[in-house]
Symmetry: C2
Subunit: 209 residues, 2 copies
């Protein structure tokens, strides 16, 4: 098994935290996104989509999506459960994970990719070139602010994102909140519940992954 | 149990097809999106995010995300498996499902919501108002064309989206391909593999759901 990672990027960090919570370690190869190694013929032979993370299984099968990789590890090592145990837990965790991804992580990517001079012509991840759309960067920033407010309201009534237990929904939310700093946005002082939760999950050893 | 649906909308269709494949029927309430019923105080008391589908369980818990709802039904009735049985199948299906969602369904939503006169000020689903971004509508159209090509290549080597068995990844892809018609895009003649697959999954009784 081999894990293609980039230690500075948010998408593979989702998997690294997930693995740290499970206590699983996997031989890892760093892909240098800053120097566009993901666009090299060598890496595109591994993942034509030119993105990390990628998990390569011993039979050569490659899983090229962060959540897909987490699904794999949840199935081979169910404990600690990070995607729920009962049907209701599984559904609520999946639902919150996706909410955090759409409203937090994707909003952050829109804000960064449509504004950063280093990402001109690369407004979406992957091999295809898309021009930056400044209005989309602005919309991304507005959405991040609303995401902070949404999650603050959630944490006023729930210890973790999807209920009383830490889950993959917390991982996505943590990565999204930390990623927002790349566009110089962070949870405002008045979001006391969000800040309480952020301090709590950041104190877990997995957050360093 | 109660399912909040809108018979003309793509997101709840994902769940309807999933349930039809499982042979499950659930008491259903239609929400009239054309007349903005999702924005009414009555519906926002059910889902503050003002979106369908919503599944309400007998204990009052509400699941407000299409894939989250599918996760629930897969857990309570595992057969036929639509999200995989082995760890590898589960991971590949999740990964392909998400690829089809990002590159197909979300691209279609960008194309429609940023151009349709009826959706002015509502470029994203949910209660918050976002102005249309014409460049994003154009980008959505370009992405749909690339999605058709990507899936055509996939179907040249695989019977179904994620391998030899029908799965939730086929459901998302079918809904995405059909939704593209709303912006007058359909698989070009030369996409023979995509068209073969589309005819095949459309012939399943579930496609009428």
């Amino acid at each position: 098994m081999k894990f293609y990672d980039c230690s500075t990027a948010p998408s593979p960090r989702r998997v690294r935290i997930f693995l740290a919570e499970k206590g699983i370690s996997v031989p890892t190869v760093q892909v240098d996104l800053r120097n566009n190694e993901q666009m090299s013929p060598a890496f595109r032979a591994i993942n034509p989509d030119a993105t990390v993370p990628v998990l390569e299984l011993d039979d050569g099968t490659r899983i090229t999506d962060a959540v897909g990789i987490c699904v794999y590890f949840e199935a081979i090592q169910p404990r600690p459960a990070l995607m729920g145990e009962t049907a209701e837990e599984k559904a609520l965790i999946a639902s919150w994970q996706r909410t955090a991804e759409r409203n937090g992580l994707y909003a952050g990517m829109e804000a960064l990719r449509n504004a950063s001079p280093a990402l001109k012509g690369r407004a979406l991840p992957g091999p295809d070139s898309y021009e930056q759309i400044p209005a989309l960067a602005e919309r991304g920033r507005a959405r991040i602010s609303r995401f902070f407010a949404q999650m603050d309201a959630r944490f006023s009534e729930s210890e973790f994102v999807a209920g009383p237990r830490y889950s993959i929904a917390d991982i996505t939310t943590l990565v999204a909140v930390d990623f927002a700093r790349w566009v110089k946005l962070s949870a405002p002082e008045e979001c006391v519940h969000l800040r309480r939760w952020h301090a709590q999950v950041t104190a877990r050893p997995s957050a360093k992954a």
